[in-house]
Amino acid sequence: MKKLDKINNFYNDDKVIDACSIFGMMDTSGKCFSGKDIIKAIANMHDRGNGLGGGFAVYGLYPQYADFYAFHIMYFNHESRARLETYLEEHFYMLRAEEVPTNPTPNILKPPLVWRYFLKVRGGENSEQRQQDDYVVEKVMDINTRAKDAFVFSSGKNMAVFKGVGYPEEIAEYFCLEQYEGYLWTAHGRFPTNTPGWWGGAHPFNILDWTVVHNGEISSYGINRRYLEQFGYNCTMQTDTEVVAYAVDLLARKHGFPMEIIAKILAAPLWSEISRLPEKKQKMFRTLRQVYGSLLLNGPFTVIIAHQGEMVGLTDRIRLRPLVVGTKDSMLYLSSEESAIRLVCPHLDDARIPMGGEPVIGSLQNPLNSRKTAIQDPQSKTGEK
C-alpha cells in the first residue's frame, strides 16, 4: 500500500487492461437482502478472474445515515489516517467515523486500513444538491490525486463499495459482506493483464453514488479520456472503467440525461438504424451522436452501472462481451454467465441475452412485478430500433 495513486498502471501502459466476471442483482421492489447469494454467484465464475481484484457495491445498507455521504477510505497506516481525518474535519461535518469490520482471511494479504465516515458538506445545508455533489467530487479527486497514502473508494449516500486484491469471494469474507443487507448488489472478479493489482484498482469503481463494474477493453479509451478531460475529469487510474464512471457522471448529473439516453450515447445506434427512426427521434439521436460522438464506447465491453434506485446492464453495440439477464418476480439479475444466475435462482421467470447496445434497466420506479412487465423495455420509452 505504498503510493496508492501510482501503482494502478504499474508499467505506465496506455491503460490498464483487464477482463472479468460481473454480476448484479436488484430487488426492484426495494426489499433488502443479504450478500449471501451474490457471493455465491460471483464465486461460481471464479475462473474468469485471477485473484488480483474483487469487489462489491451495495445500495441501501446504511438507512440510518441515508442523508450522509458515506466515505470509505483506504489508508497505508494510522498516521495517514490521522492526516486525512484532519482534512475531512476541515471540509465536512463528520457524524461518525469507524473502522470497517473485517475478518482475517488466509488469502487476503497485507490489507490496508479501511475506515468509513458519514459526512455532510460543511455549510452546505442550504446549497443545492448538485453543488454539494460537485463539492464532494472535487474533494474526492483532490484526495485521490494528492494524498499518497489514502484513497477514497466509495463516496455515495446509503451505499458502499467493498473491494480489494483477492478473489471476490475472499474479499466478501474479509469484509463480512454476508452481514450487510441491500436492495441492489453488484460484484466483480478481475483478471488484470498488465498490473500487479492493488486495492484501489479493483472494481466497482465509484464516484458519488455511481458505481461501475466492467468487463472489457475500450478501444476508444484515448478519445473518451481526452473528451472528459475537457470537462475537468482527470483519469488518474487509467482504466476503461474510470472513463465509464466519469462519462456517466457527466451525462447524468451534469447534462441531465436519463439512463435510457445515456445508454444510447455510450453505445450509440448505428447511423443506418437512426435513419430508420421516425423523424423526431431521428433528429434527437442524430444530434446526440453528433455532439457526444467522442463518448461512444467502442470495442468490447459489458458494464453494470448502478446508482441509487437503478441498475443498468449494457454491452457494446455489437456485443463482444457477454451479458445474460434473468428475472424472477421483482428480482433482476445481470451476469456474465447464465449459470451464475441459475445457481442462486434456479427457476427464473425469464432468461435472455439482450441485443448489443440495448440497455437493460432495473429501477425502483418501475418495479418488476410479474412476468408480463418483465424488463422495462427501453425501446418502448425511446422508440428506438
Partner: protein, 501 residues
C-alpha cells in the same frame, strides 16, 4: 543566349519497336517530340521534356523510355544539381522561379514515422466484411451539450449546419482556370457520387456545374472572383481562403492567357486580363476583421451554411486556429507544407510553412485545452497520399482531410510540376481546348470514385483491426498511434508515445 541547362530527361526510343506513328508527337504538349519528314523518323528535343510520361503511356508499341538524365556534376552536398540549375535558370531569365505542385524537398514526412495499432487477444478485431463499419462524419460547430425536453422524448438544443460526409475525405480547392472544366466536372461528380464535397477554389462556379452545388464548398478568396450572393447560397459550405500550404503569405496569379471567355465569365473579370489574388484579404488585417467577414458571409447566407476558414500551416497555427474558432469559424482547414498549387514561386513553396502533422497535432491539442474543440471541425490538407495518411490524420485529431494531388493523380497527373505552364499534357492543369479534351468527365468521375472507394475500404479494414467500428472513436484517439524514429520533442508535439512504450 545559349542555355547552360542540360536536359532533365533522356528520351529513348526503341527504333525496332517504333512504327513512326507519331502518337508521341501529338501527345507531347511540350514540343519534345517531333517528326522529321525528310528522314521519316520521330525524334526528340530532350531539353523540352518534363518527364510527364504522357508519350510513354500512349505509345502503342511501348517504344519509349523516359528517364532522368544520368549525367552528373562533380558531387557536392551543398551545390546540388538543383541548386546549380536554379541559378542557371535565374541568370538566364532574371525572374522568380515558378513551379507547380507541392514541395519535392525531403522534409520529414511524419506520417511515415507514425504507426497504427491493432487488436490482439485482450480485445477482438472487427471484420468489416461481416460487421457494420461507420465512416460517416458530420462537419460543423457542435454545442457543449444537448438539452432534452423534460420528458426526455425530444431535444431542446437545435443543432444546425451539419455537413454529412459519407467518407472523411474531401476534394480540395482547385479553381476553374487553374484546372480545366472537364477536370473540375470530374471532381464535382465524383464528390456527389461518393457523398463528400468538392471545392470551387477561388475561381467561381461555372454554370454547367451548378447541378453539383449541393456537394460544393464555395471558396471566397482574396480576389473575390466569381463571388456573388447566388454562388454563396447554392453551396453547402462557404470557405474563406486566407492561405495555402504551397504558398503561405502570398497571393495568386492566373496569367491572362488562361483567362478565356468562359473563365472570364465564371470569374467575372474581363477576358485576357491577369487574375490577381492579393496576398492578404484586403478586408482582413486582423482577427476581428476575419470575424466580420465570417459573419458577413453568415448574414449573406442567412445562417444556413457553415463557414470554413482555410489557412496555411505556419509557426503559430495553434494560436491562430484558436482565434479563428473564437471568430466564429465552423470549420478550420489547415494546409500543410507539402500542399500543392497550380503555380507558386519555388522559393516559397520549398521554404515556408510547417508539416501538416505537427500543425494538426498542435491545433487539436490547443482547441481541447481551451475547451473549444467542439466549436469547429478540423480539416487537414497538404500531402495526404493514401488511406494510411488519412487514418493517421484522424487519429491525430482531424475530422476529415482534403486531397488534391492524389485526386489529380487518379485523373492522370504524373506530378511533373508543370502546372504553372498551362501546357499540362494530361489535360488537367490547362485551359487549352485541345488538351482539356484529354479528360473525359465520365472516365474521370469513375477513376475518382474508384480511388475514394478503395481508400474507404482500406480505412474500414484498419479501423476494424483496431477494434473500432465508428470513425468518431478514432478521431483524436492518439493512443492508437506510436512514433518511430522521432525525437522526444516531436513525440511531445504529436502527443504520441514512442513505439514499444
Amino acid at each position: 543566349m545559349k542555355t547552360y541547362l542540360p536536359p532533365k530527361f533522356i528520351i529513348e526510343r526503341d527504333q525496332y519497336r517504333c512504327t513512326q506513328c507519331q502518337a508521341c508527337v501529338s501527345q507531347c504538349s511540350f514540343d519534345a517530340n517531333y517528326y522529321d519528314a525528310e528522314d521519316d523518323e520521330v525524334r526528340s528535343r530532350e531539353e523540352n521534356c518534363v518527364g510527364c510520361h504522357r508519350c510513354v503511356v500512349f505509345c502503342p508499341t511501348n517504344a519509349i523510355t523516359v528517364r532522368e538524365n544520368p549525367s552528373s556534376y562533380r558531387r557536392n552536398e551543398s551545390w546540388t544539381h538543383e541548386a546549380i540549375e536554379d541559378i542557371i535558370k535565374q541568370s538566364e531569365t532574371g525572374g522568380m522561379l515558378l513551379t507547380g505542385m507541392g514541395t519535392d524537398k525531403g522534409y520529414p514526412i511524419f506520417w511515415d514515422h507514425l504507426l497504427l495499432n491493432a487488436s490482439q487477444v485482450t480485445n477482438p478485431s472487427i471484420d468489416p466484411l461481416r460487421e457494420p463499419m461507420e465512416l460517416t462524419t458530420y462537419l460543423g460547430q457542435k454545442p457543449d451539450m444537448v438539452k432534452l425536453t423534460s420528458d426526455s422524448t425530444d431535444i431542446e438544443t437545435e443543432i444546425t449546419n451539419q455537413i454529412k460526409l459519407d467518407i472523411p475525405i474531401m476534394l480540395t480547392a482547385m479553381s476553374y482556370g487553374a484546372i480545366s472544366l472537364n477536370t473540375q466536372e470530374s471532381l464535382a461528380r465524383a464528390a456527389t457520387e461518393a457523398g463528400t464535397l468538392w471545392n470551387t477554389g477561388e475561381g467561381g462556379l461555372h454554370p454547367s456545374l451548378r447541378k453539383y452545388a449541393n456537394n460544393m464548398v464555395a471558396q471566397v478568396a482574396s480576389g473575390r472572383f466569381g463571388v456573388h450572393s447566388e454562388y454563396l447560397n447554392m453551396a453547402r459550405v462557404v470557405e474563406i481562403k486566407i492561405g495555402q500550404g504551397a504558398k503561405p503569405g502570398i497571393g495568386g496569379h492566373l496569367p491572362g492567357e488562361k483567362v478565356s471567355l468562359d473563365v472570364s465569365a465564371t470569374r467575372m473579370i474581363p477576358q485576357g486580363t491577369d487574375a490577381l489574388s492579393p496576398a492578404p484579404q484586403h478586408d482582413i488585417y486582423s482577427i476581428e476583421d476575419l470575424s466580420q467577414l465570417i459573419y458577413a458571409l453568415k448574414e449573406a447566407t442567412n445562417y444556413t451554411k457553415p463557414i470554413s476558414v482555410k489557412i496555411a500551416a505556419v509557426h503559430n497555427s495553434a494560436a491562430i486556429a484558436s482565434g479563428m474558432v473564437r471568430a466564429g469559424a465552423d470549420i478550420i482547414v489547415l494546409d500543410g507544407l507539402r500542399g500543392s498549387t497550380g503555380a507558386t514561386p519555388k522559393i516559397i513553396r520549398d521554404n515556408v510553412g510547417i508539416p501538416i502533422e505537427l500543425a494538426l497535432a498542435a491545433v487539436d491539442e490547443r482547441l481541447r485545452k481551451e475547451g473549444i474543440r467542439n466549436k469547429a471541425s478540423i480539416v487537414v490538407a497538404g500531402g495526404i497520399r493514401n488511406s494510411g495518411d488519412v487514418t493517421k490524420a484522424i487519429a491525430l485529431g482531424a475530422d476529415a482531410v482534403y486531397i488534391g494531388t492524389a485526386a489529380l493523380i487518379a485523373l492522370g497527373c504524373h506530378v511533373c510540376q508543370q502546372c504553372h505552364t498551362g501546357k499540362c499534357a494530361w489535360g488537367i492543369c490547362t485551359t487549352n481546348v485541345g488538351l482539356t479534351k484529354r479528360i473525359n468527365p465520365n472516365i474521370g468521375t469513375r477513376r475518382l470514385t474508384n480511388l475514394l472507394n478503395s481508400w474507404s475500404l482500406e480505412i474500414k479494414d484498419m479501423l476494424g483491426g483496431m477494434g473500432i467500428n465508428a470513425i468518431e472513436s478514432l478521431r483524436g484517439n492518439r493512443l492508437h498511434l506510436r512514433g518511430v524514429g522521432l525525437s522526444d520533442t516531436e513525440l511531445k508535439i504529436l502527443g504520441v508515445r514512442a513505439a514499444g512504450s
